[in-house]
């Protein structure tokens, strides 16, 4: 048996039905882009001004032209001669890298314990760790200083690292990521004979690369930019970090804007480099968490 379809005349959709609109097109999209461009200018202009000023000669330092009318490297030469800037950059790099590695290491160990093990008072300990994040550095500064002084480590790079062996932020972020890690994969590893140490380093850590990269950037930048603790400990420029070096161009007689900007530009370069290297990982981790 066959049925023959009788063609029905098609009518236009009633006005009450809204037409579908493609996202990201038309006026809305243009307005969105305009806001993003303005915000980018707002963020990037101070950086641009720092770089531009660092190339202005001393007599033209307060010029308001967007790009220096005459270019000069005098500020860089002066800054490099006035303070041991290379040594300071090396010190800052060593402190930042070591602190980043140590905080990630201790963070991964502690986060695994909080995420995977149940032990007496575990929730209380976790809350305690979370609370330490809220304690300002100024509160623990004096006890830390006294400890370091008693250990005879004042004016040393080691003392800059010592109080930063663990970070509550790292523990909390990593514990959160580990909690959302598929339980079955860990159980499969247990069935395959892996114990906690292997599960942490061979199964979980490689799959938390996005979180670890984001965290590494955060720790690295915050350590690189640290000013107060090095200011307290440093006695000689050779054992100090770049943030202290920059501050040396701000004197009672007035600020040396040209060398200050040159030193600041040199201090910013490693941070920018690190971000360029790891940005793919960071963006990936943000995208993944968005998709989930």
């Amino acid at each position: 048996m066959t049925t023959e379809a009788v063609p029905q005349p098609l009518s236009a959709a009633p006005a009450r039905l809204r037409k579908k609109t493609a996202a990201g097109t038309g006026l809305n999209s243009a307005a969105g882009h305009l806001v993003m461009v303005l915000m980018s200018i707002f963020c990037l202009f101070p950086v641009y001004w720092m770089v531009a000023t660092s190339f202005r000669p001393t007599n033209a330092i307060f010029e308001t032209s967007l790009w220096p009318t005459t270019m000069s490297l005098d500020n860089y030469v002066y800054a490099l001669n006035a303070i041991p800037i290379v040594q300071m950059l090396v010190n800052t790099l060593v402190v930042s890298v070591v602190v980043t590695v140590i905080q990630l290491f201790t963070g991964l160990l502690a986060a695994y314990a909080f995420a995977r093990w149940r032990f007496p008072l575990d929730k209380l300990v976790y809350t305690g760790v979370a609370l330490t994040w809220l304690v300002p550095f100024q509160v623990v500064m004096i006890p830390n200083y006294l400890l370091v002084a008693q250990m005879g480590l004042l004016d040393s790079v080691v003392a800059l690292i010592l109080p930063h062996f663990a970070s509550a932020l790292a523990i909390l972020l990593l514990a959160q990521s580990m909690r959302s890690f598929p339980k079955e994969v860990i159980e499969a590893a247990r069935m395959d004979g892996a114990r906690s140490w292997r599960i942490l380093w061979e199964i979980m850590t490689p799959n938390l690369r996005g979180t670890i990269a984001s965290l590494a950037i955060l720790i690295f930048i915050s350590t690189w930019n640290e000013y107060f603790w090095p200011l307290l400990l440093s006695r000689t420029p050779e054992n100090s970090v770049i943030q202290i070096g920059i501050q040396m161009f701000m004197t009672a007689e007035g600020n040396q804007w040209g060398p200050l900007m040159a030193a600041s530009t040199m201090a910013s370069l490693p941070i920018l480099l690190i971000y360029v290297i790891l940005q793919r990982q960071v963006i990936q981790s943000f995208m993944k968490s968005g998709i989930r």
């Binding site: 994969v185 159980e187 247990r190 892996a194 799959n207």
Partner: protein
């Protein structure tokens, strides 16, 4: 040899008991399927065997050794998980080789076993891919490969096919059965899918509410269900379960048709509430008004090889399997005739099977004669 014995096995979470004492002996080399609805405790039981859940009470022994406190890796069990549980950052080769790497198996031996497992599972050409680059079926095969290389005494499968599409599910089912025939290791397969259970099992364990309802071959469980639950759970479409009771003459009478006693129930007290079960394929449908129970067809499901008619008899729905045809049944008055050899009788209070049903005597009337 790996005979697996579960003895008085119980499991509680925060005082709430979820397994109420399981006693099972699984012979070496058997393919055992644990089937039951969600939350019946089947996965918990499997995870206890694997060592991923602690035992509250009772013992698990594999090959004569009590395994309660033994580490999961040392029980001689390998598990295939529902969502594959592959290591996303490793290639197929690394995934399969991982248990061997942990066991410090020599590189040459490791390679040999990985290649062998890959060949068995048709994974050779995918060995250098990562799980994300594989289809669902291929991922499941990698998970099986990871289990095979360990050469375990017991394979544990936790609903491994439930994430696959219907076609792939059938293919993988056949592959698992073939694999079992080849490896001959004791296998325990958990599923809520009764078709998987029937087709794969040498021995079927039906669970409900943390208890074992029945253990037997698939045919035994299907033909002689031990309880109302098993009768209703095993079989698609499900067995028709109709309330019944014993009348004054000692005959079982259906509540939907009390004037039609169907059989004699020996030793069952008058008035005892019963349930009578009839498989949909044990009922035939005709338009002959001289025989059978009058019914109305509400709906017919087309399955290609057969059709299922849902009929109403005095407000109660009965499913009937029909041979393929173009006959239109919906909305029509029909007459149902029953294969009296396929009746199942259960105690409605306890839900247990009663084997007291005696087939109709000559005096038993109309319906039975139909």
């Amino acid at each position: 040899m790996a005979e697996l014995v579960l003895s008085h096995l119980k499991k509680s979470y925060d005082g709430k008991q979820v397994l109420h004492g399981v006693d099972v002996t699984l012979p070496d080399g058997h393919f055992v399927v644990i089937v039951g609805p969600s939350g019946c405790g089947k996965s918990t039981l499997l995870r206890m065997i694997a060592g991923l859940e602690d035992v509250t009470e009772g013992t698990i022994s594999i090959g004569g050794i009590v395994m309660n406190d033994i580490d999961p890796a040392d029980r001689g069990c390998a598990m295939v998980f529902q969502n594959y549980a592959l290591y996303p950052h490793m290639t197929v080769r690394q995934n399969i080789a991982y248990p061997l790497r942990i066991a410090k198996v020599a590189q040459a031996e490791r390679d040999r076993r990985v290649e062998e497992a890959a060949a068995i599972l048709n994974l050779t050409e995918y060995l250098d891919r990562r799980p994300a680059q594989l289809s669902g079926g291929q991922r499941q095969r990698v998970a099986m490969g990871r289990a095979i290389v360990r050469e375990p005494e017991v394979f544990l499968f936790d609903e491994p096919l439930s994430n696959l599409d219907a076609l792939l599910r059938v293919q993988m089912r056949i592959e698992i059965k073939r694999l079992h025939k080849r490896l001959k290791a004791t296998s325990i397969f958990v599923t809520h899918d009764q078709v998987e259970a029937m087709t794969l099992a040498d021995t079927l364990i039906v669970m409900n509410g943390g208890r074992v309802e029945q253990i037997g071959s698939p045919a035994e469980v299907y033909r002689k269900p031990a309880s109302v639950f098993v009768a209703g759970f095993m079989g698609a479409p499900a067995m028709n379960l109709i309330d019944a009771s014993v009348d004054v003459d000692g005959l079982v009478a259906l509540d939907i048709a009390p004037h039609l006693p169907v059989a004699e129930a020996q030793g069952v007290a008058k008035g005892t509430p019963l349930v009578l079960g009839m498989r949909p394929e044990a009922i035939t449908l005709s338009f002959d008004s001289s025989r059978g129970l009058p019914a109305t067809v509400d709906l017919v499901e087309e399955l290609g090889g057969s059709r299922v008619a849902y009929c109403t008899v005095n407000g109660r729905e009965l499913a009937v399997v029909l041979p393929p045809s173009d006959e239109r049944y919906e909305g029509r008055e029909v007459y149902l005739q029953f294969d009296r050899r396929a009746w199942h009788l259960f105690d409605r209070t306890t839900g247990t099977r009663l084997d007291n049903l005696v087939q109709p005597r000559a005096s038993t009337r109309r319906l039975a004669e139909a």
